[in-house]
Symmetry: C2
Amino acid sequence: MRRTTLSLLAMAAASLNGVAAEEGMWTPEQAPEIARDMKRLGLKLKPEDMADLTGFPMGAIISLGGCSASFVSDQGLVATNHHCVRGSVQYNSTAENNYLDNGFLAQSLGDELPAAPGSRVYVTVGDRDATEDVVGGLAASLSGRDRYQAIEDRTKQLIEECESDPGHRCQVASFYGGASYRLIKRLEIRDVRLVYVPADSIGKYGGDIDNWMWPRHTGDFAFYRAYVAPDGSAADYAEENVPYLPEHVLKVSSGGLKAGDFVMAAGYPGRTSRYRRLGEVHETFDWYYPTWIETAEKRISLIEATAPDGSDARVKYESLLAGLNNYHKNRIGQIKGARRAGLAERRAEHEAKLNAWIAADASRETFAEAVRDLDQLIEEQNAKGRQSFWYDYASGPQLLSAARQLYRLAKEKDKPDSEREPGYQDRDLTRTRQQLTRIDRRFDPAVDRELWLYFLEQYMAQPAEARIAAFDEALGLPAAFDRAALERSLARLYENTDIDDQETRLSWMERQASAFEASDDPFIQLAVALYNDDMAREEDSKNMAGQLQQARASYMQALIAWNADQGLAAYPDANSTLRITYGSVMGGSPMDGLIYEPFTRLEGITAKDTGEAPFNSPSKMLDLIEAGDYADYDLKSIGSVPVNFLSDLDSTGGNSGSATLNARGELVGLLFDGTIESVNSDWDFDPRTTRTIHVDSRYMLWVMEKVDGADRLIDEMQLVKRR
Amino acid sequence: MRRTTLSLLAMAAASLNGVAAEEGMWTPEQAPEIARDMKRLGLKLKPEDMADLTGFPMGAIISLGGCSASFVSDQGLVATNHHCVRGSVQYNSTAENNYLDNGFLAQSLGDELPAAPGSRVYVTVGDRDATEDVVGGLAASLSGRDRYQAIEDRTKQLIEECESDPGHRCQVASFYGGASYRLIKRLEIRDVRLVYVPADSIGKYGGDIDNWMWPRHTGDFAFYRAYVAPDGSAADYAEENVPYLPEHVLKVSSGGLKAGDFVMAAGYPGRTSRYRRLGEVHETFDWYYPTWIETAEKRISLIEATAPDGSDARVKYESLLAGLNNYHKNRIGQIKGARRAGLAERRAEHEAKLNAWIAADASRETFAEAVRDLDQLIEEQNAKGRQSFWYDYASGPQLLSAARQLYRLAKEKDKPDSEREPGYQDRDLTRTRQQLTRIDRRFDPAVDRELWLYFLEQYMAQPAEARIAAFDEALGLPAAFDRAALERSLARLYENTDIDDQETRLSWMERQASAFEASDDPFIQLAVALYNDDMAREEDSKNMAGQLQQARASYMQALIAWNADQGLAAYPDANSTLRITYGSVMGGSPMDGLIYEPFTRLEGITAKDTGEAPFNSPSKMLDLIEAGDYADYDLKSIGSVPVNFLSDLDSTGGNSGSATLNARGELVGLLFDGTIESVNSDWDFDPRTTRTIHVDSRYMLWVMEKVDGADRLIDEMQLVKRR
C-alpha cells in the first residue's frame, strides 16, 4: 500500500500541465517539479536549491508558531508582521511607556526587550518522510479507535526520539489527509526579544476597518531578535544570552518590484480545505458558518453591552472581540465568495468527474469504496457536529474549561509520560501554565456569565439527543430555560469558586485527582462530574478520527491517481508546514466596474488620514509625504513610495509574516493579508479574485530611515539596490 | 444698482479661462458663453440653440417637480428614473398585482394607469428676467422685514399675473443669492399616467446597499405619459384625455457612448452651496451634520425597535427610514469628502484672496461691507439655528404639525387670497390636502410617540434660552425630563385626538379659526396655544431672510466682480431651475489604489446576484446574460451591454431622471445618482472625485426588448443606431 501511495505522489508531481501558475501552496520538496513554471515567470534561483530546507533561501525562513518570519541579518534579526509581535508590544507597554501608541526601537542590543512569555522562534533543522513510521503495516481492518491509537502511539514515539536532542521541538505532520506523514525537527529558540516595532498608527494603520481590504496602507512589519545561550544552544531568557547566528539570511531589497514581476513567498500557511467533499462544503457553508455568524453577532453585542467601551472589562475582551470581528468578516466573505465562484456547483461537478473516471475502469473499485466510506463518515460527523455545537459552547466558559483541563491533567499524570494524552505530557506543561495564567487578562465574571447564559439558553432549546445528562444534572438545569433562576445559580458558582484566583488555579496543576474529587469548588466539582462523559465522547471522536484518517487517505489516493492520470500535479492542503507560493505582482478586478491597482502610494496614507485611530498617521510622516521626501525608495511608474502591493500568490492564515521574495530570493516585502474576495480560496482557489497583500520593503525602509530613525537595523541588514 | 449687477453678470460669463470644463450647472441662457468649451469636448449641436428653452433640445426637457425627465416620443412619452415614479407604482399595486415586484407594462394606451395623486409634468413655456420686477427700486435702507415683504408681495403679484393663463404654474426663482430673479412659466400637466416600469429587481437593483455607490448595476428608468384634454389644455385625469403632443422630442440612441465621449445632461438640480461663506461651512460640517447624523441614528434605531421588521407600522415608516438612511450615508460622505478635499481650508483661502482683492482698491469698499454684513448675519443665523434645532423636532410630530398647518390655514383664509402667506393661497390647497391625506400612510402613534419622547428629552436638556415658554406651558412640561410621566401625558394626547382620522383631519380645512379655538382636541389646542409664538418667530425669521437676501446679493456681486476681474465665468448655485452640465464619459480613482471603470456590464449583474432583494434579478434576465444574448446593444470595448456609466458631469439631487445626451442631443441614458465621493461637491466641486452615474440607453433598450417585451414603446420612440 505504501508503495502505491508514494509512487502516486511522485506521479502527481510529475507534470504541471493545466495547473494555474498561481495556485498551490507547494512543499519545498516539490520545488524541482514546479521549476519550469517558476522559471517561466522569472525565478532566477535554482529551483532545486529551494527544496533544501536548511540551505538558501529556505534556511532563512522560520516560524513563530502561528506566524511566519525570516532572518534578515547574520545577528539573528527576525522580520515579521507588526500584528505578529503586537502581543509582545502590549506585554511591554505601561501607562508611561505605551509602545503600542509610540512604537518601540531598541537603540542597542542591550535595550532589546523580552517578548511576551511563550514567544518562540522555530528554525527547521531536519525534515524527513515518516509515512512508513506512522501508518506502515496498519491493517485496513483495524477499528477506528485502534487505528487512532496506533497512529498516536507511533507519533509520540517519533517525537520523543526526535526531542531527545535538547532544545528542539518536533512535529509529525499529516499530508494529503493522512496519506503521507513527515517528521519535522526544529530548533526551539526560547529567548526572543523585541527589537523594533512601528507605532500602531503605522503598523496597524486602517485597523479593523481596512482588515481584509484593498486599497491598503498598513506598515505591518516589525523586528524580533533570536537569542541563544553563549554556546549556541536554545535557552530561556538570560542576560548572558547572545544573538543567534543563523546559517542563512535574506538580503533586503531596496529596489523592490514593479507590476508583473515574479514574486514568491515562503511561510507556514495554517489550514485549507481544497480537497474536502461536497458534503463538507454544504455543511460548512449552509449550516456551520451561518450558525457561527449568528452566535458571533450575539456574542459581540453581549460583550459590548456588558463590558462598555472604556471599562476594565472591555480591555479584557478586546482580543476576543477582535477575533470574533475578524472571523465574522472572513466568514461572511467566504460565503459571498463561495456563492460568487459557485463553490458547491464546482465541487459537485468535480466529484461527478471523479466518479466517472472511477467508474470507467473496474480496477478502480477500491477508489469507489473510499468515496462511499468517506461520504458516509462525513455525514455522521456532520450530524455529531450539529449535535455538539451548542453543548461545546455551553460547557466552555473559561473557568469550567480550566477546571476540566486541570482535572484531566491530574488524571493523566497518574500515567507514565509517554502514555499520556498529547497536550498533557511534560513537554506541554509550560504552555498549559501560560494558558492558565493568561485567563486573568481575558476573564470578567459578569461578561463570562452573560455569554454562558446565552449559550445555555441555546443549548436548552436543542432536542433531547443534543443534551448531555451529566451536564444537565451537574448544573441542575431545569426543564425549561429560566433566565432569572439560572442567573442566580450561575452567580453562586462565580461567588464560591477560588480558581478565578491565578495562584490557586495554578496550584491545582500539582494536585492529585483525589483532591479534585474532594474539592468543594463548584467549577472543580463540575469538571469532576463531567469527566466520565467527556471521556466517553472523546473515545467516540477518536474512533471517528481513526476511521476518517483511513477513509480520507484512501480518498486522497484516488484523487492523486486521477490527477496523475491527467498529468496534473497535486499539492497538499495547508497544515502549518513550510510552503512556497509563487506568481506575479498584479492588481485585479474584484468585481465588474472596479479595479484594484497593484500598488498603493504614500499619498494614499494622507488621503485616508482622519487624525483618529485607526487613521492617525504620525504627523512627522504626513509632513514627509507632504514634502514628497521619498528618499529614493519611490517606484517611478507610480510616482511615489509603494506602501502595499498585491500579488496572485496563494496564501492563508499562518502565512502572516512570510518573507516575500523576488526572483533572486531577496526580501521585497512581507505577506500580511488577503483581500476579502480571496478568503473563500481556502476552499476553492479562484485565480480571478485571489489576491495576497504585502507590505513593500521600500515602505519598510522608508519608515525605518525617515520616520523612525532605525538606522542601526538598516546598517545591520544587507541591502540590495538593484531592481 | 441693477445695471451694475447685470453688467457684472454679463462680464462674468464673458470668458471661461481657467474654469474646469466639468464644473458648472449652467443656465441654458449661458450656453453661448460655454459654447467654445462644449465644442472642444465634442458637442455637435449649435450651442446657441441650447439657450432656447422652447426649442430643440431644451424644449424636450421637463420637470416632474423634484425629479427631471424628458419627452421621448411625439405622443408625450416621458422617460425618467425608476425611483422617480416608484410612488406611482406603489400607489397602483395591490396584493394581487404587485407592480413593485413584477414591474408594469401597459399593453396599450388604454391600459396606462393614473400616476399617484399630485403627479405632475411641467413643460416650460416661458422664462424671462424678473430682477427689476422683484428688487428694482428697493431702498437699501429698508428693514429686513420690509424687504422680505416687498419681495414676497412683488413675487406673488408676478405669479398671479402669470398664472392667469389657466393650466399653468409659475415660479419666481432667485439666482446668485438674490442678485437676480427669473420668472418661469410652465404648463402644468395634471393627468400623468404610468406606462412602463421594470420590476424593483431591475429598477432598484442594489437598493440601499448600492445607493451612492460604484460599481452600479441599476436599471433606474421608467416611463410616464403626459395626457391633456382633447383641446390640448392641461386637465385633471379624465378618460377622454389624450396624449400630450410635445413640440420637441429626444431621439433615443441605441449606439450609445464610449469612454471619453462628450456627454451632457439637462435637468433640474435642487440645491448647491458653492458660494457659501466659511462660517456656514463650519456650522454645517462641524455642528449641523454631526448633530443631525446623531439624531438620524437614534431615530433609525427607535423606529426599528418600535416598528419591527414585517409589522404594519414598519410599512408606514419605510419611506422615512429610507430617507434617513439615504441622508445619513450622504452626509457622512459629505463630511469625509470635505475632509479629503480640504473644503474649509480651500474656502478660507478663497475668502482670503477675495479680501485681498477687495482691499487692493478703495472703490471696492462696498464689497468689504457686504462681506462683513453677511458674515455677521451668518453668525446670528447659526446661533438661532442651534437654538431652534431641538425645538423644531420637539414641536414637529406629525399630528401637531398637521394641527398647526390647519389652524394657520384657518387664520390665513380670513385674508384675501393675494395677501395670504405663500403656501396657504388657493393655488396651494390641492397640495395641502394631499399632504394631510398622506399622513395615514406614514403615521403610527406608538412610533410617533417614541420619536417625540426622544426629541422632548433632547429639547429639555437645552439651556433656558432654547426653551419656548408657550410650548412648555401648553404641553405642561415638568422642570426635568421624566420619561414615565411624559409617556403618560403624551399617551393622553394620542388617545383623545380625532385628527388621526383622515376625514376629520381634512374637515378642519374648511373650518373657521374660532372653531379651532373652541375645540377640545388636544393637538388642535396645542396648535392654538403655539400660534402667537409661531408667528413671532416667523416674523423674526422673515426679518433675517430679508437682511440675508440683501447681504448675500451684495456679496455675490462682489464675487462676480472679482471673477470677472480674473476673466472667469460664474454659474449660479442650483435652485431647481433648468441647468445644463457637460463633460465626458470617464471612470476615476476614488482613492489611491482603486479605480472605477467607466462602464459596468451585464455580467456584473449576475456576479452581484444573491437571489435575495436587492440583488434578485429576474431569472429570465440571468438566463439571457448567461447565454450572452446582447441583441446588438453591446459595446465592443467592454465586451458586453453597458449597464451604467460614469461621467464627470456636475449634478446634485433633483437631477434624477435628467436626460443624458450625446453630442447630437440624442438620449444616451438617464442620470440617476452620484458616487459617494462626489456628494461634497454640493459645497466644493472637486474634479478629481466628482462622478455622476447614468443608466445606459443600451441597457434600457436591452431590458425593454429582451426582458420585458416593451416593443410597443421601442416602436414609438425614434431610435438612432449610429454611434
